[in-house]
């Protein structure tokens, strides 16, 4: 049985919305009955992408972050988008331990976490325009067998 569901959310670039974004995705994805580990992986990846939009994408608060979540069969596609600063050099940004904000005690491991916990991530970014991160993960034990 195949199955489709979809949701899209926009919220302000306030740090208290980081946990809110995780709850929203976890709740939406729970209809597929993910394992505890899969759910933790997804929540962590979402947390990374949303945090990046808040602290790197936008300098000031109260700009809008967009999060989309799509369920196609057993696969989850999550897109996090901001219309902020954009990334100069995506290849450099994706390297483990690279961070442009060491003064904030950022570890530079955000992209590595997303890549490890999801099956695939696609980064589209344009300087001065914004950043869109698409993350895809296929659940192993999902309810909706194809």
């Amino acid at each position: 049985m195949s199955f489709e569901n979809y949701m899209k959310i926009e919220f302000l670039s306030k740090s208290q919305n980081e946990s809110f974004a995780r709850v929203v995705v976890a709740s939406f994805v729970s209809q597929l009955d993910p394992t505890i580990e899969e759910l933790a992986d997804i929540k962590t990846a979402v947390s990374e992408a949303v945090t990046n939009s808040i602290i790197h994408g936008y300098d000031k608060q109260n700009e809008k972050v967009y999060l989309e979540c799509r369920i196609i069969g057993n696969t989850i596609e999550i897109t996090v988008e901001d219309f902020g600063k954009g990334i100069d050099d995506v290849d450099l940004a994706r390297q483990p331990l690279y961070t442009s904000k060491p003064e904030l005690e950022r570890s530079g491991m955000g992209f590595t976490v997303m890549e490890t916990f999801m099956d695939r991530i696609i980064v589209e970014s344009e300087k001065g325009k914004g950043t869109r991160i698409k993350m895809i993960k296929k659940l192993k034990t999902a309810k909706n067998k194809e």
């Binding site: 331990l97 570890s107 590595t112």
Partner: protein, 111 residues
């Protein structure tokens, strides 16, 4: 995030209660640093028994405290990790500088 502190023989034990992300990291950082500075602290143990979530912001918090404690000639340990947090720490190569222990007691006995 709720923090509980305990000082045992120059070792500060921090029990983290809640979710450690970018939002909570600042408060966690400040509270721990205040304790390190105000008490006569040498070593630091993060007890993660009740930490329900952590992302890469947690790596920054742990490494930041490591740098501080290292200057004071002390050591940092983490105890009671769930597999998910362990995976994140491993990814970041944190165990090159910080020791992992199964329990708080083990950390206190071995730091």
């Amino acid at each position: 995030m709720q923090l509980k502190f305990e000082v045992l023989n120059n070792t500060l034990v921090v029990l983290l209660n809640g979710e450690l992300d970018h939002h909570s990291a600042e408060e966690v950082r400040e509270e721990i640093d205040k304790k390190i500075e105000s008490q006569n602290i040498k070593n630091l143990v993060f007890d993660l028994t009740n930490m329900r979530f952590m992302d890469s912001s947690g790596i920054g918090v742990v490494i930041g405290r490591y740098k501080k404690i290292n200057k004071l000639g002390g050591k940092v340990g983490v105890a009671n990790l769930n597999p998910h947090v362990d995976k994140i720490f491993q990814m970041a190569g944190i165990y090159k500088i910080i020791c992992k222990f199964d329990t708080k007691e083990e950390a206190l006995a071995n730091l």
